[in-house]
Subunit: 336 residues, 2 copies
Amino acid sequence: MNILITGGAGFLGARLARALLAAGSLSLRGAPARPITQVVLADRGPAPADLLADARVRSVQGDLLELLARRDLPAAGTDAVFHLAAAVSAECEADFDLGMRSNLDTTRALLDACRALGTTPVFVFASSLAVFGQQPGRPALGRVGDDTLPTPQGSYGIQKFIGEQLVADYTRKGFIAGRSVRPMTVAVRPGRPNGAASGFFSGMIREPLAGERARVPVGPDTPVALASPTRTIEGFLRAAQASDAEWGPRTAINLPSLATTVGEMAAALEQVAGPQAAALLDWQPDPAIEKLVRSWPGDIAWDRARGLGLASDASFEAIVREYAAENPQAVRLALR
Amino acid sequence: MNILITGGAGFLGARLARALLAAGSLSLRGAPARPITQVVLADRGPAPADLLADARVRSVQGDLLELLARRDLPAAGTDAVFHLAAAVSAECEADFDLGMRSNLDTTRALLDACRALGTTPVFVFASSLAVFGQQPGRPALGRVGDDTLPTPQGSYGIQKFIGEQLVADYTRKGFIAGRSVRPMTVAVRPGRPNGAASGFFSGMIREPLAGERARVPVGPDTPVALASPTRTIEGFLRAAQASDAEWGPRTAINLPSLATTVGEMAAALEQVAGPQAAALLDWQPDPAIEKLVRSWPGDIAWDRARGLGLASDASFEAIVREYAAENPQAVRLALR
C-alpha cells in the first residue's frame, strides 16, 4: 500500500507517518489491512531524520502546487492521500492571495491529480474548526455539531469549507473516496510558534515547561475545544479506515473535542509543573486575537466521530503530561 | 451609474436589464437612487434587439472567462454587478470540467476583477436552490431555511455553494459588497428548453399553451418551490438596494417561494386553458429526473427575504396568466 501525506514534514504529518510506519499496515474503507510499502512525505521543508531513515519513506520537497503541476505527485498506485498541507489562519488573513493559492488552488489540483489516477484513492482532508465563526451582529456560537451551518469569518475557514465541498463532490463523482475531518485546536504542539492565531494555546504550556515566559493574549474564561496530537492522528486514521457505510454522508465530521477554558489550561499547567510554571504566564489580552479566538466555537458536538468509536482526551492535565513525556528535552521544570 | 449583467442576454438577464432601464435609476446599499447611464450585457449569445436599441446598453459578447482574462470587463466605474451567467445543472453533471470552469473559475475571475476595481462594487450573485439536496440514506429534506446546512447532491449545487462562500469572503475583505440570493425554480420560462433538469416545470405549461404535447417526467405529487420571473427579478433588485444593515449576514438568502406540486401546476394549466391543455401532458416518469428533482427541497422558508419586504407569487394560476399575457404569440389555445 502506497500512502501520500501532504504537509508530511510538519508536526501532524510526521506524526501521522510515524503512526502508519509503526502499525506497518492499514485498512482502507473497511477492507482487510494491507502492508504499507511506501509513505511519500510531500512538504516545503525537509522530512525529519527518523522518517528519512525508514526505507519505506520517500521525501518529496517543494511547493505542492508546483509539484502537482509537474505531475510529480501522486505516484501511480497511490492508495490513500492525507491532505494536511495548508497556509494557516493568520497567513491567510495577512495575504489573501497566498491563502487562495495554498488552500484552494492546491487542494483542487491535488483532487484533480487523484482523479487522474482513475483508481478512486482514499482522500482524508484535514479541514478545520475555523469553518465555524460568529457572524457580526449575531449571537455567539452555541454548540456546533456535524450538521451546523458553517459561517466562516476568516479566509482560512472559507477556503477549508470550500475544500470540504470539493471533496464531497469529487467523492460523489467517484473520483476519490473522500473523508473531510475537522480537527480541534491541537495542543500541545512542540517546537516554535507556527503563525496560527491559535498558537498561544500550545505556547502557554510549552514555554513555561521550558522555563520561559509566555503571553496569554485572551482572558481565562475563553472557551476552547482541544485535542491532543494523539487523538487527532487517531481521527485521521479512523477516517481512512471506516467503511463507506460507517462513514455516512459526504459532509465533514467534527473530531472529538475536549471542552475547556484557557483558565483551566493554566490550572492544569500548575497541577503538572507547580506555581512557578503558572507564574511564567503573562496575561496580556490582545483585542485582535481575543476577538478572533472568541469567534471560534468552544462547545463542539462530535456525534459522527463518536459513532466511529473515536474518543476525546480525558483531561487537559493528561494532555500536558503526554507532551512532557514525549518531549523531555523541552522540559526544564520539575514535574509533580 | 454603470451596471454589468453577466448572462445579460439570457432570459432572466435581459428581463433584469429591461427592469433597470425602465426604472431609469437605482439605489444601491440604501443610498439615494442615481440615474442609470450604462447597462453592460455580457453573454455568449447576442443581446435581444429591444435592448440593443437602447442607447444606454452595451453588449459584450463572448466567453466570460476569456473576456475577464482580456480585462474587457468590468469597466472602470462599474457600480453594480449582477452575476447570472452559469452552466446549468444537467450540463454540469454531464461535463464536470465545464461546470467547474463556468461556475467556479469564472465566478472567481469575476470577483477578482471586481476587487481590482478598488471601489467595492455591489455584487449580486445568483446562487441556486440546488445547494440543497437530500443526502443518500438520510431522510427527505424538510423545510429548508436561510440557515439550513446545504448538502448539494450535484456539481452545479456544489459550485453555486462555493460561489456563496467566495462572495461572503470577498465581501468581508471589502473587495465587493456581495449579496447572494437563491432563486426558486423560475417558471414559466418562454422559448426553448435550456438543458436544466428543471426545464419541464416551464415546458409543461409553455408547450400545451402553444398547442404542443409536453412530457411530465415526474409524478403529480412531486413538490416544487416556484417563483415567477417578475418575483425573481424583484429579488435581485432588492438585494442590490438593501442597506448593509437591512441585508444582515453575508450568507445567502432564499428568495420567496410559492410551494406547490406538479399536479397542482397541471390543475392550474387546466384552469387557465381548459381540459384540452391538460390533455397535452404526457405523464411519463423518468426515474433519473424524478430522483434528481425529488432531491431538491419543495418547502422553503424565506425569512430574510420577507424581512426585506419581498413577497411570493399569489398562486400558480396567476403565474400562468402572467406568462400568457406576456407571450401572446406563444399561446395558441383559447384561455378562460
